[in-house]
């Protein structure tokens, strides 16, 4: 339990550092922000992988083996490198900003340091956001769980891919009926509460549009308008692996859902109450960030669609504002 608190504390400290780096003189320091994002990712992995009954968890993290818990040395497990198939949450949650094809001329590429930070920071932040949003996803869970066929994956890795979409579209989430149709679909995840199949997680597709249609389509290929890369065979085996443990946890956690959702949000929310209710300047910055698109005036600010943002809970809004 103390590892979770420690990890949570480190997550909030890290996010604070990234936030403060925006106002530092001399511009955003790429090196420092890279290191902070690595810590953020490790802390979040530990946070999510620590099976603690007190707080709701979305199942083990993407790593196949839960890291051993040693006192004072929470092992983050093999960290997913940046170079790996990008963390699904990152891509799914934050569609890539429009990046003009920039020849690497010195000043023209200058937007990149800050964009980089956002990019680099986004992935772990996306994951962090998913922890809270996984809770939202869970709320929809029971209906789909009942609808799930035998072959469908359980909650193991559902924390990342499905959660964001679920959070964003709690109302738009297709009813259980629609998902039942998708339950038999080959692509895993399509049946889960309006989540796109895992293959789509790696695409920078605007997630707001996808889930609904995908549920209807039921297949990983996705409808037009939701570009989905080719099948990713890697994903499937991983899900099957996590199916068993995740499923158990999922079933066990269902009863505690609503209580823990509030719990989780209050914990994360309180950490960021300072950020959200910052001076008017800070608050204004966040609004500006939300409203301007990828071509934001503030460098590296936003890479999310507007409609997506409005549906998020305040905590992930704070992260997006980075």
């Amino acid at each position: 339990m103390e590892f979770k608190l420690e990890a949570h504390r480190i997550v909030s400290i890290s996010l604070g550092k990234i936030y403060n780096s925006r106002v530092q003189r001399g511009g955003i320091k790429l090196h420092k922000n890279l290191l902070v994002s690595l810590v953020l990712r490790s802390a979040r992995q530990v946070y999510l992988s620590d099976p603690c009954p007190g707080l709701y968890l979305a199942g083990p993290a993407g790593t196949p083996a839960p890291p051993p818990q040693q006192p004072g040395e929470p092992a983050a497990g093999p960290p997913a490198g940046w170079g790996e198939p990008p963390p699904p949450a990152a891509r799914a949650a934050w569609p890539e900003p429009e990046r003009p094809a920039v020849p690497d001329a010195p000043w023209v590429g200058g937007a990149e340091p800050t964009a980089t930070v956002t990019g680099a920071a986004d992935a772990p932040q996306g994951r962090a956001a998913d922890a809270a949003e996984a809770a939202w996803g869970r709320v929809e869970g029971p209906r789909e769980a009942a609808a799930r066929g035998a072959g469908s994956p359980a909650g193991g890795s559902d924390a990342f891919p499905e959660a964001p979409q679920a959070a964003r579209r709690p109302c738009a989430c297709p009813s259980g009926g629609e998902d039942r149709r998708g339950a038999a679909a080959a692509s895993p995840g399509a049946d889960r509460r309006c989540a796109p199949p895992p293959s789509a997680d790696e695409s920078p597709a605007p997630p707001a549009v996808c889930p609904r249609k995908r549920g209807a389509a039921g297949v990983g290929g996705g409808p037009a308008g939701c570009p989905a890369p080719g099948s990713t065979p890697l994903k499937k085996p991983r899900r099957n692996l996590e199916e068993q443990p995740g499923r158990e946890e999922d079933d066990g956690a269902e009863e505690m859902e609503t209580g823990n959702v509030a719990n989780l949000i209050s914990i994360f929310g309180s950490s960021f109450s300072g950020l959200l209710r910052k001076s008017s300047g800070g608050g204004r910055e966040e609004e500006e960030g939300e409203e301007s698109g990828p071509e934001a005036a503030e460098p590296g600010q936003i890479c999310c669609d507007k409609p997506v943002l409005r549906d998020m809970n305040p905590w992930s809004t704070a992260i997006v504002a980075f």
Binding site: G27, L38, A43, W107, A111, T116
Partner: protein, 444 residues
């Protein structure tokens, strides 16, 4: 070796308006001896360069030999604003590197985050007098008044040291410059930022070659950045650069124009038992320095310095713990940002000793041959002229002995990031925030 405090701390910012209250601009950000050791250059956060010169031997003042006094002060860089990105460019001097002396003047390169400048420091101690067309004040004389011609003669004047910028190497770096290094050919030099290394010719300012590019096609996949780079002291085609992942790559410019593929890759396998949230941060290398011989190189990460044999890539030949007692405090150091401090390291002239800084104004010296190390403190109380420095000790646990300092009472605001060792003698320069200390080995 007993270290004698030779020059009582010469306050770097003594010319500032508020000597009692150190301003941020006075914080020393780089220290570097020139090739002969007679000149010592310091750069600060305010963009100023102060050069100290060693006093020559003087029979009437036998003890004055070895004292460093201010030789020249000039403003190297000013704060700038990048209108395109709405970013301020700090004037802080990140690095100074001297060029080998070729004539009476001295040349050095100084750089901030974006722009490198070549400065010429020259002396003027003579002045021409007796002009025909103008009088001593410089006013033009009335031609009708000139009745005779004379030849102007040179008369001595008070020594004046002038610094003038001879070259400005700008607009070549998208990211923040962290290193510059003069090549052994004395014609080219490299500059490194977080993702790229450029090769310059000292005479050409409008062009540079990019020789290393670590920028990934997709910035979201960024995994490591360049933290330091240096040319080999003798082989003009060899350079090394360190990364935030704790690795060092050695590149040979003869193999290809773009040195993205390294010739050697130095990495020590991580000890899995010591893994923590901050493993990646503390393994990031903050400085890399070749030995004078060119056979070894030294890397500094947060807790240790490692000496590598260039012929062995698998692991260092020596590892010296600088302040291992901080390993259990990493979370606090992360909170107060100290974990991001970039400590430098340096060799002595004979490569038999290495030195690096720590907190509480402590610095550490490691004698490689005798396998001994010592912790010393740079502070006003301990630095009376000609007083010996007393070794310090940090108490890591248990009962604190007299004269020991406990880990919890260390002052983490007093950090020694920059040190330099005279290339030939046992004289060291230690920068403690805004103060510069110069210590010399005791000579009996």
């Amino acid at each position: 070796c007993g270290l004698l405090c030779l020059a009582a701390s010469s306050q770097h910012g003594v010319l500032r308006d508020h000597p009692g209250v150190p301003s941020t601009a006075d914080i020393i950000s780089t220290v570097e001896f020139n090739y002969s050791g007679d000149l010592l250059a310091t750069g600060d956060k305010g963009g100023r360069v102060v050069i100290f010169q060693r006093e020559q031997e003087n029979k009437s003042r036998p003890h004055s030999r070895g004292e460093y006094n201010v030789y020249s002060t000039f403003q190297s860089h000013e704060p700038e604003f990048d209108y395109l990105k709405s970013l301020e460019i700090e004037e802080k001097i990140n690095k100074i590197r001297w060029l080998p002396q070729q004539n009476a003047a001295h040349f050095l390169l100084s750089t901030n985050d974006k722009t490198i400048k070549l400065w010429k420091i020259s002396e003027r101690d003579k002045r021409a007098e007796g002009y025909n067309l103008k009088d001593e004040d410089g006013r033009l004389r009335d031609p009708f008044r000139i009745t005779a011609l004379r030849v102007p003669i040179l008369k001595p004047m008070d020594l004046m040291v002038e610094a003038s910028p001879r070259r400005i190497f700008a607009n070549a770096h998208t990211y923040h410059i962290n290193s510059i290094s003069v090549n052994s050919d004395h014609e080219t030099y490299l500059s490194a930022d977080d993702l790229r290394i450029n090769l310059w010719h000292l005479e050409i300012t409008d062009r540079s070659f990019n020789i290393v590019d670590m920028k990934p096609a997709n910035m979201e996949e960024l995994a490591e950045v360049i933290t330091a780079a240096e040319f080999h002291p003798h082989q003009c085609n060899v350079l090394v650069y360190s990364s935030s992942k704790g690795t060092v790559r050695l590149c040979d410019m003869r193999s290809s124009a773009l040195c993205d593929r390294h010739s050697k890759f130095f990495e020590e396998p991580e000890d899995p038992s010591s893994r923590s949230f901050f493993s990646e941060i503390i393994s990031s290398i903050s400085d890399v320095k070749f030995s004078h011989s060119g056979r070894y190189m030294m890397t500094r990460d947060y807790l240790s310095v490692k000496v590598w044999d260039l012929n062995m890539e698998s692991r260092p030949v020596e590892t010296h713990q600088v302040h291992e007692y901080l390993r259990s405090k990493l979370c606090s150091l992360y909170e107060n940002d100290c974990i991001f401090d970039k400590f430098e390291c340096c060799w002595n002239g004979s490569d038999s000793a290495i030195m690096t800084g720590s907190y509480n104004n402590f610095f550490r010296m490691f004698d490689r041959n005798a396998r001994r190390d010592v912790t010393l403190e740079a502070s006003r109380e301990n630095s009376k002229p000609r007083a010996s420095l007393k070794p310090r000790k940090v108490c890591t646990g248990g009962k604190r002995k007299k004269d020991e300092i406990s880990v919890d009472s260390l002052d983490f605001n007093k950090k020694i990031l920059h040190t330099a060792w005279h290339p030939l003698e046992n004289i060291i320069a230690v920068a403690a925030t805004n103060n510069l200390y110069i210590f010399q080995d005791k000579v009996n």
